[in-house]
Amino acid sequence: MKYFVGLLLGMIVGVAIFGAAIYWNPFVGRSSVSPLALSTDMVELTFSEVPEKSIAWIDNGDSAWPPHPQKVQELWEPAIADTVILVTRLNDSRGQPAGFGIKFSTGAESARLMNGEVLVNSVWHVWLSGQGGLFIEQTENEWPWLRDVVIPARWSTSNHWRGTWFGILTVGPGALGSGRVTAGSGRFSGAEGEAVEARRASAYSATSGPAAVDGSLTVVLSDPNAADEDVPQ
């Protein structure tokens, strides 16, 4: 019996060591420098990631905090149960309303916790008032956010995390770790480019969700007419 107990205790310690190694893996960092940092002519859009401050925040109903607004349909069907919807007002770099964005995020089957990757495939449908629509596809890595903010909030006796956190969420599919942008209609029609989403947080609650969390989308678009202009007349 004592050997069984010893083996069991050893296994528990082994699992704990493995968990600690994953959590404090020194080879998994947090990116805080945007691959588009040196780009010119970028568009910066900011938004709130606090459900109550968004136009809508919808999931399958299993999370600790309720969807917003109340009475909105939840995504309970099996095919969409791993998807979260955020509809939010987008502000420009001066804080003035620029339009709105719809974000669909679904956990990626390619996620590998061993590599410090909790990957999420997300797409944005952005409408800029009077200018037109954009489509942004990206892969995000949520692990640094979970490790630095969400898990400490759960461990905290007050169920809260407070501090200063900033991270670049976008890790692909672009070669430099940026997302891809396609303009559909309006002023940008035909243009393509890159985008990066970042998150800045100062308060998070394990019971009621993000309390002071803002996101930003940095978009760099190529001029669709540039190629034509380069052609000698």
Partner: protein
Amino acid sequence: MFKTFSTGIILGLIAAGAAVHFVPLYDLHRETSIVTVRPNGGNAELFQIHLPADRILAGGRNLPDPVPDRLAWPEPLDSSAMELFKIRNANDRVVGIASRIQGAVPQTPEVVEWMLHLPARGSMYIAMANDSGVEGNRTGSLQKGTREFAGKHGTMRETFVPSGSDDSSTGRIELLAFVVANAVDEAEEVVQ
């Protein structure tokens, strides 16, 4: 006793490693894709939206009946309207979600944009002119696809089929997507 404890630690490490490696974080549910192959080698796939049951959200500055009724739409935004839907396959099973934006941009006719998101397969982004044809259809082109739809081009036709009652808000929206691989991709496949 110490040997047993050490063996337990190693077994625990192996078990945890195996679990993290082999148990997926996300195991997405897949519905059967009901696709018709067309003579040009492309695919045709029908998606449908039952109204009002599949409308998740409807918002806009001038929208008389937002969904849900407590939806607060930001005042400063322009007169564009936005809707979110659950989308179903031809067998009426929910396979994804979609956003539809109808808006005006200067010097061009009003446009309609769709973004279809099928979690286990990928996304499609379609832009179309708002003016419906003689048969009441709108047709637009696939601007971009991701994952299963990446590198494809095609069109999508939007048709509203009323339920037959006097209420024009009930019925279903049919989205018929025609998608084909790019000519370059097809040529590469032939070479291979």
